[in-house]
């Protein structure tokens, strides 16, 4: 990891040459531009979808064409759906063995440090290259425990009943236009099933990236944690730079059953031309816990608000997020929680940083239903602005329909205080390092929640971002 970090040099805003390695486009197949029924049928056929999946795709397409673009949030006009090639199949077959991954793809992964994660024997690595999973391994002991961890196409084929029961039920195509789009053209992704009472001790990781020009990525993640089970799933994204607007409209559906616990961690570092319109939802039953850890650093535009639906008594949600918006970025992020049952609770804690003309927005909704007696919800968001060319906006909504509740919301906005800098420099720390220390301290609640190698990567990302303004 250290070598990779050191090789990064600063150019313009931030040199992404290492993340933005673009391989020659050697894809076998690209679907026709634009989204028509023929395109969707074509995708479905090439994937060997069962009929119910084809019907789901067509139903989604219909809804997609009926829904209008969002009337709120960031400017989505750079998106020209007609130009987006929705499906790209890389020149590699499914493989469970690292040796079989084509050298070129492997080289890209090597430079992103993915095999290191594997070498340090971190559970399974499911890496998505373009729209297809090319590398996937699950440790034997997980399989022995009955844990299923596979790419989504395999899941559709091998576990049709499970997939059919849950797929797009939490994020129905009617949720919004991009959910409908996802339903129509989804491709790739991860499927995890943790049986009752099974505790997965090591985090499962997935790393995926986009490669072909104008290609959208519509991966679907479906995780089911049965009663009393527990899992930590880590999703990391890094996409290469390209000059055509790229769209990411993935969907993450998490089902946390009674007494189960799921932690879902993401560090997103999309390249700066990505439109990241991702939808993530969790449905939590009685005594279940969903923990979100979310870091948003990349993309041109992001709309990301993981939503927790707490439908069982005493269900809990913890959300910890950090967003760093720099030059040319409009990152609209936050979290939502629906407290539907008695004694449910939600704790939302976010940090946003904006610099060099970047725009960071915290947007959230907390809804407490009439049935949610004894519900508790605490929201805390802090924003740090590193210069006067940037923007930071906070837009939380609380809709409280029960009286026996405790709801608190707090938000702060400001810059690094001169006094704090003076204090640290008076101890011999130079100004640049003092600034970096304070920013790292500001996001500490998030790095603390991450496994150490991800915390280190996040700190490296922050240091790289800071080199831009504070040199």
């Amino acid at each position: 990891m250290e070598d990779v970090t050191r090789k990064k040099t600063y150019v313009e805003d931030i040199e992404r040459s290492l993340y933005d390695i673009r391989n020659e486009d050697r894809s076998l197949y690209k679907s026709a531009k634009g989204l028509t029924e023929a395109v969707v049928r074509d995708i479905s056929q090439r994937k060997g979808d069962p009929d119910w999946m084809l019907q789901k795709r067509l139903e989604s397409l219909k809804i997609y064409n009926e829904l209008s673009m969002p009337s709120w949030g960031p400017d989505l006009s750079p998106l020209r759906m007609d130009d987006i090639v929705t499906y790209v199949r890389p020149d590699a077959k499914m493989t469970g063995n690292w040796k079989e991954v084509p050298a070129e793809i492997k080289d890209t992964f090597d430079r992103l440090g993915i095999p290191e994660a594997e070498k340090t024997s971190l559970a399974g690595v499911g890496a998505q290259y373009d729209s297809e999973v090319v590398y996937h391994s699950v440790q034997k002991e997980l399989a022995d425990q009955g844990v299923i961890y596979t790419d989504f196409e395999t899941a559709v084929r091998e576990y049709p009943d499970l997939v059919k029961e849950y797929f797009m039920t939490l994020i129905p195509p009617t949720a919004h236009k991009f959910a409908a789009l996802h339903g129509a053209v989804w491709s790739g992704g991860s499927f995890v099933y943790v049986p009752e009472g099974v505790h997965v001790d090591i985090p499962l990781q997935s790393y995926f990236r986009l490669n072909a020009a104008g290609a959208g990525q519509f991966e679907h993640t479906l995780i089911i944690c049965e009663k009393g089970s527990s899992l930590h799933f880590i999703e990391g994204c890094s996409a290469p730079k390209y000059n055509v607007t790229n769209l990411h409209a993935g969907a993450v559906e998490l089902f946390v059953k009674e007494g189960a616990r799921l932690r879902y961690s993401t560090i997103e570092n999309w390249s700066r031309n990505m439109m990241n319109l991702n939808t993530k939802r969790a449905l939590v039953d009685k005594d279940g816990v969903i923990e979100w850890v979310s870091g948003s650093f990349g993309s041109h535009v992001s709309c990301l608000y993981p939503t927790s639906v707490l439908r069982g008594e005493n269900a809990k949600c913890e959300f910890t997020g950090v967003t760093f918006a720099s030059k040319g970025q409009d990152l609209d992020t936050g979290a939502s929680a629906l407290l539907l049952a008695p004694h449910t609770s939600a704790n939302i804690n976010t940090r946003t940083i904006s610099k060099a003309g970047g725009k960071a927005t915290y947007r959230s909704a907390v809804k407490v239903a009439p049935a949610a007696k004894g519900a508790k919800c605490l929201v805390n968001c802090e924003s740090l602005m590193l210069d006067d060319r940037s923007r930071s906006d906070t837009l939380p909504v609380m809709d409280i329909q029960a009286a026996d509740v405790e709801v608190g919301h707090e938000a702060k906005i400001g810059r690094i205080s001169d006094e704090a800098i003076f204090y640290l420099t008076s101890r011999g720390i130079d100004e640049k390092e003092a600034q970096a220390m304070i920013v790292r301290g500001f996001v500490e609640p998030i790095s603390k929640a991450l496994p150490v190698e991800y915390a280190v990567e996040m700190n490296n990302l922050i240091n790289l971002e800071l080199e831009g303004t504070m040199g």
């Binding site: 906070t394 837009l395 809709d399 709801v407 702060k412």
Partner: protein, 287 residues
């Protein structure tokens, strides 16, 4: 009644439509959202001369749409009180806009208490350097009353100070939306903004929507907002009832205690007594 409604007051930054907080709608023709039409009823345009101190009070008692615009000149001070005490079956719409120049101060106290449905908007522009906007408001929802408030303090000058303090109580099946915005414009260096809302929910069946916005295009600012929503402190309630007061009397005491810091700003003692009387009646009769 649903037909022919027009957008009267809009949130400074839109969010998800399903939350229903992006705008407040009123019957067509009442008052345009942004126009110069003079509505029926009270419409006042005042100014406070440079260095002067002016105290004004507007009390809405009958059905009308009221609009007040005040310019506070450099170094001047405005004490403005606005009280809405309409009968429980009437509708009410009002608008208040105050422009505060360099070194001037606007101290605004609002009590939103009556009517079946209230749509109210307040904008305070802290245009000049060192301008101060101090807004304190109370609202009360009972019966099936609907309260819609949209308060914005825009901080444009350097070293401006904004304080927005809102206290409310909801009872029966009343509903309320409060949008409170602190908007730090680029260039508002050294400005400080504070906003807090405290809501007491007196029984199940009420609906409270709180939307505290904080917008900033300037780094050299210090902004903070906080909202707390919850039922009445049960210990407090027990203590009071153990002294022989019934539930509605106890509720009235707790609500008054919460409102007092704002009510104390109402200098006209007769008006203050009237407000207190009004609150007492509305809490006890449940209608």
């Amino acid at each position: 009644m649903e037909k022919e409604k027009t957008l009267y007051s809009a949130i400074p930054m839109r969010t998800w439509r399903w939350l229903g907080v992006n705008g407040a709608y009123v019957p067509a023709g009442v008052v345009p959202a942004d126009g110069n039409d003079v509505p029926a009823g009270a419409d006042r345009q005042w100014s406070v001369a440079q260095g002067a101190v002016r105290t004004e009070t507007v009390v809405y008692r009958t059905e009308q749409a009221g609009r007040v615009t005040i310019d506070v000149a450099p170094g001047a001070k405005l004490h403005y009180t606005q009280v809405q005490l309409l009968p429980a079956d009437k509708g009410h719409v009002d608008s208040l806009e105050i422009n505060v120049a360099e070194g001037a101060e606007a101290r605004v106290t609002i009590a939103e208490l009556g009517a079946a449905e209230t749509v109210s908007k307040v904008t305070i522009n802290l245009a000049g350097d060192g301008a101060v906007g101090d807004l304190a408001a109370i609202y009360l929802g009972n019966g099936s009353r609907k309260v819609d408030l949209n308060y914005v303090i825009r901080q444009a000058g350097r070293r401006t100070k904004a304080d927005m303090q809102v206290r409310g109580a909801l009872k029966d099946c009343s509903e309320k939306i409060f949008r409170g915005t602190l908007d730090f414009l680029r260039g508002s260096k050294g400005s400080v903004g504070r906003e807090r809302e405290e809501v007491v929910l007196l029984n199940e069946g009420v609906r409270n929507r709180s939307v505290p916005l904080m917008l900033s295009g300037e780094d050299d600012v210090d902004g903070h907002h906080a909202v707390s929503v919850g039922k009445m402190d049960q210990e407090k309630l027990f203590y009071i009832t153990s002294r022989g007061l019934d539930l509605s009397e106890a509720q009235r005491l707790v609500v008054e205690a919460s409102f007092n810091p704002v009510l104390e700003r109402v200098e006209d003692t007769a008006l203050r007594a009237e407000i207190e009387q009004y609150i007492e009646e509305r809490i006890s009769d449940g209608k």
